[in-house]
């Protein structure tokens, strides 16, 4: 009977899952069931690239146990590091490795659970698909300011950049622009999501965003022959890479520790790859 089959498959799945977890419990065990009898709040803030993974993880955990509340805010890597250091949040995400100063000042413990890249994007309607690093520097410095100089339409280039607390910006500035200047006429947006939306809505825009965030609302730009895909980040041909960190003040305990463990667990890492990043396991 129908019911019989369903019941049987549940039992079978249960057996398989238990078997799987028993076997994988050699690694830091982070199964969703560890959250079963927990209660409490987790406050997370910081890097905006991390948000989709945070949201998915929070969704799974909160659906499993309604006594756990996870709040997620953005703000950028700088915010995450500072807020976790000041004790305002439990987990501060950053898209760049915290500096030694920061680690020492706040007593941070770092957990890198994904690898990501930072790539340049333009609007899908833009015929310009590839740039050299020097062209990129000149565009962002404001020295090239019309698309026709690059073989595109005769329209001004609208540069979009991130605010100062952004880890994405830090990585882009250091590795793609070689610490070059970003024009002060650039429009400032506050997150990876906002950057994507801005460039997707502006046919003459150019910006930079986390590789994991890229989708077909924007076109990636090939830099010196390397296309910013996650595979290329993995195999090293696309060089502008960065880790996604979750930082805590001191050793994480209790619920927070379980959340971090969850990120490293198979389910967590699956969320990482699902959202377009590279898992670390």
């Amino acid at each position: 009977m129908k019911l019989g089959i369903i019941k049987r498959s549940f039992i079978l799945t249960g057996i398989f899952i238990s078997f799987y977890f028993i076997v994988s419990s050699i690694a830091p065990a982070g199964t969703i069931d560890l959250f079963t009898s927990e209660k409490g709040d987790i406050k997370i803030s910081g890097g905006t690239a991390h948000i989709p993974v945070m949201k998915d993880a929070a969704k799974q955990i909160m659906e499993h146990n309604r006594d756990i509340r996870i709040s997620i805010a953005g703000g950028g890597s700088g915010v995450g590091i500072k807020q976790v250091g000041e004790g305002l949040v439990d987990i501060g995400n950053s898209g760049r490795k915290p500096t030694d100063d920061e680690i020492q000042k706040y007593g941070l413990k770092l957990f890198q659970w994904a690898i990501d890249g930072v790539g340049v994007i333009v609007n899908p309607k833009n015929p310009v698909k590839a740039l050299s690093m020097s062209q990129l520097s000149e565009i962002f410095a404001g020295k090239i300011f019309n698309w026709k100089a690059l073989g595109g339409p005769d329209k001004p280039i609208n540069v979009y950049t991130r605010d100062n607390s952004s880890g994405t910006r830090e990585v882009f500035w250091e590795k793609a622009l070689d610490k070059g200047e970003i024009t002060d006429k650039a429009n400032v947006v506050v997150s990876n999501g906002a950057m994507k939306t801005a460039v997707a809505n502006d046919p003459y825009g150019i910006g930079y965003v986390s590789v994991g965030h890229m989708d077909n609302s924007t076109s990636p730009v090939i830099l010196d022959g390397a296309e910013p895909t996650i595979e290329n980040v993995k195999n090293g041909s696309y060089k502008i890479a960065r880790g996604l960190f979750s930082n805590t003040k001191g050793e994480p305990k209790g619920l927070v520790k379980k959340f971090i463990d969850f990120l490293f667990s198979p389910e967590g890492q699956e969320l990482v790859t699902k959202n377009g990043f590279i898992s670390v396991k």
Binding site: S45, E63, G87, S191, T197
Partner: protein
Amino acid sequence: MKERFIEIFIKSFAWLSGLLLLSVTFVIIGFLLVKGVPTLSLSLIFGDTSPADALLLRRQVLEGILPAMAGTGLLVLLAVGMATPVGLAAGIYLAEYSRGNLKSFFSLFYDILAGVPSIVIGLFGFSLAISLHHYVKEIYPCLLISALALAFLVLPYLIRTTQFALESIPAEVRLTAPALGATKLQNIAYVLFPRSLPGIASGVILAIGRCAEDTAVIMLTGVVAAAGIPGSLLSAYEALPFYIYYISSQYRNSYELQTGFGAAVILLIICACLFLTAFYLKNQLMNRMLYRR
């Protein structure tokens, strides 16, 4: 001849201005309604959780705007709850117990407070939270701090409305109770205050509207992008206007954009209802004044 020309010019200018403003308004609201009304549905609010489960707090709503609506609702309740007693008391004091220079002095401060930009009030709330955090570890920008800051925001409006409502009571009514031997306080409590209730109520409702729509204050004092229904006064929360702002700059797909429009329509409806109620109550006040029932 010149007079005639000026007359025609002014008339046409006035008509043009009026019509221009009206049409822009209709375009704005129309655009919103056209894009937003089709998205209104239970799944907009509750996501894929069933309404019963969500409302009974049995399960969290993760894809709908219920947490944002709940956050706004709680904010408004707390903020107006905190501001109303203080605002009413101060308004009564201003209308009944002070006069001349002192009154003018107080009034000036309230006007200044009313004129302070909302983001500066938010900044103030944020600074308060951070300062308090040094003494009480549990306090950081949260629902309570936001409600407090919003209370600061609407306090001047409440004071002024109460003051105005009390001051509009005609002299004959004011003198009746004291003539019968009542004390000043008894006069206020039994005659003046009940009489000015419609005006005060409309002020309270306008304050509710102001709290529901404000974004700048809450951005600095604890609203976040995702938090579920707030569990305690000290927890992070979501709010409708912030949701709309957030979605407008960071929607991930067209579905999320739709929810932004839907949320905007819902906020518009809430504000419209509040406004109509306040307006109706204010008219009641006018009627009472004119016809002295």
